[in-house]
């Protein structure tokens, strides 16, 4: 073997080694990039907290509203205007038997205050893994709410108004902010208050461990003089009774009286609602307080109650006095006057 041959072999060996090292280098760089990439991908996107699960409404507030139901003409703390009050006072519970109203779902507004559990899940893009929407499940009489996260705009004001409205979401820190428009004219409160189809709702949803806190900011240029702001809390409970969809609804003949006389349209004319003063009487309240309005939301209204109306609490509770789950407690749990 000549020196040239030896030199050639040395050069060849060196070139081969360099080629191997290059490959190795590339391999490690790719590996490092892959690892870093994986770590970055696995870290939650800023603010994208996982909200999925079954969330049970926590009983501990909205006592009567979520229990026996709010009394007729109890509008305390609700910033209704005169139109809102007039609509509320025209309400007759028989309205719910009208065929056209039997399948009228609860408003998305009720996604704020229960009483049923929320089943929340997301739809993700199969390729990018990005969340396309968050979904808040339906109840038997409330539609599913789809919260679009893909940046799509809200449709024209004249577009279809559905039972679930049209909702979009974005993250602010760890809070999901949901903006809902296109809600149908529907129930603001179960006792006859309504909201218009021009109402909008902004919800702030924040998770604290197994609690889901929600602040709801509800505006309606037709029936409210100020935003109606509600807060509520839900607790993670996979066993809570929940649903993702609502069953089909079919109107039936509920009232022979109405069915036999098509001219009957349940309602009360202004000033004719016989229950308009009941709530105020039950609790020694002036009618002005019971029938709501923005000023009843604020602490300074107490001054008026004291100095103008000389409010004194009733001597004792006579209805809807407790709702504790402790079976050892015997009390008036409904409006029947019966201790249970």
């Amino acid at each position: 073997m000549g020196s040239d041959t030896v030199f050639g072999q040395v050069v060849k060996a060196r070139d081969e080694r360099a080629a191997i090292m290059d490959k190795l280098k590339l391999f490690h760089m790719k590996g490092a990039a892959l690892l870093v990439g994986t770590l970055l991908m696995s870290a939650p996107l800023f603010g994208e907290v996982d909200l999925s699960g079954v969330w049970q409404f926590v009983r501990g507030q909205y006592g009567q509203e979520n229990g026996g139901g709010s009394d007729i003409a109890d509008y305390t703390g609700i910033p209704i205007n005169d139109e809102g009050r007039a609509v509320g006072l025209s309400y007759s519970a028989s309205m719910l038997s009208e065929p056209l109203r039997q399948c009228q779902y609860y408003s998305p507004r009720y996604a704020s205050t229960g009483p049923f559990a929320q089943n929340i899940w997301s739809e993700t893009d199969a390729v990018t893994g990005k969340v396309i929407s968050w979904n808040m499940g339906a109840w038997i009489d409330k539609d599913i709410i789809t919260v679009w996260m893909d940046g799509r705009p809200h449709p024209s004001l004249n577009a279809f108004h559905g039972f679930g409205g049209f909702a979009t979401g974005s993250w602010e820190g760890d809070t999901l902010v949901i903006y809902t428009t296109h809600m149908k004219w529907s129930i603001l409160r179960i006792n006859g208050l309504e909201h218009s189809d021009r109402a909008t709702m902004t919800q702030y949803v924040t998770r604290h461990g197994d609690l889901l806190s929600m602040l709801t900011y509800f505006e309606d240029p037709i029936y409210l003089s100020e935003p109606y702001v509600l807060s509520s809390v839900w607790q993670l409970n996979p066993k809570a009774n929940s649903s993702r969809t609502s069953p089909a609804c079919e109107p039936i003949d509920e009232s022979p009286r109405m069915n036999n006389n098509a001219s009957i349209v349940p309602h009360y004319l202004p000033g004719k609602n016989p229950s308009a003063g009941d709530y105020a009487k039950y609790y020694n309240l002036p009618l002005e307080a019971a029938q709501g309005g923005a000023e009843t939301m604020y602490p300074e209204f107490r001054k008026k109650l004291k100095d103008v109306y000389h409010y004194e609490p009733p001597e004792k509770c006579i209805r809807y006095c407790c709702d504790t789950q402790d079976p050892a407690v015997k009390c008036l749990r409904s409006g029947s006057g019966k201790v249970q």
Partner: protein, 251 residues
Amino acid sequence: MYRRKVMRRLLIAVMCCLCFCSSGFAQSAPSAKAAAPIDLTGYWVTIIVPDWRERMITPAKGDYLAVPITAAAQKVADAWDPAKDEAAGLQCKSYGAPALNATPTRLHITWQDDNTLKVETDYGMQTRLLHFGNWKAPGGPATWQGDSNAVWEMAGPGGRGRGPAQGGDLKITTTHIRPGYLRKNGIPYSADIRMTEYWDLVKDPRGVQRIMITQTLEDPEYLFRTWITTFNFKQEADNAKWDPTPCSARW
């Protein structure tokens, strides 16, 4: 040799990644005031919507709606006598920390020092001190507002490691509270009550700041289960409506 170099670089990259991906980026601890992810200072007014008749006014004797009372609590509450409380100088029994957030009040929040947030109410003129850091309770008799330890909970870092944390909430744990009432009409809480709060701050569509408080109360004697509630406060521009009123056993 080369492999070691690559591994070292890899390790540095992973460490950097972990640091930026985690919310608790360890540095020398700044004061709570400097580290605050949200600004809670200012004047705030409560908005009383749900359970209005239990919160805005003194509810009737025996009205315990929404409170998960035990039979022992019912027994105490059924014997509520405001005259007796007045005679004993206990008009502030319904102004303790567990009851305060639900009351018709305004809040004035300021920094007492770099690690203590002060929350004053005009309703009952109470003062809560929220202590951050390694604060240790001084001991002594329990007080209406108890001992509160506070901590900022930071929101996740800014988008795949880009930028600092944005926002967060305040978590407060309060114990050592003098026994009092959960509501004005005598629903009791015991000395063993434990209170946890989360304070979130949001800006509403009109640009007004709002605090949402999520509160849990655990009391083995008088609560059948954890009582969880929420409250919301709206920011006010100034103290024009601040109206200090002393404790009252009846109103």
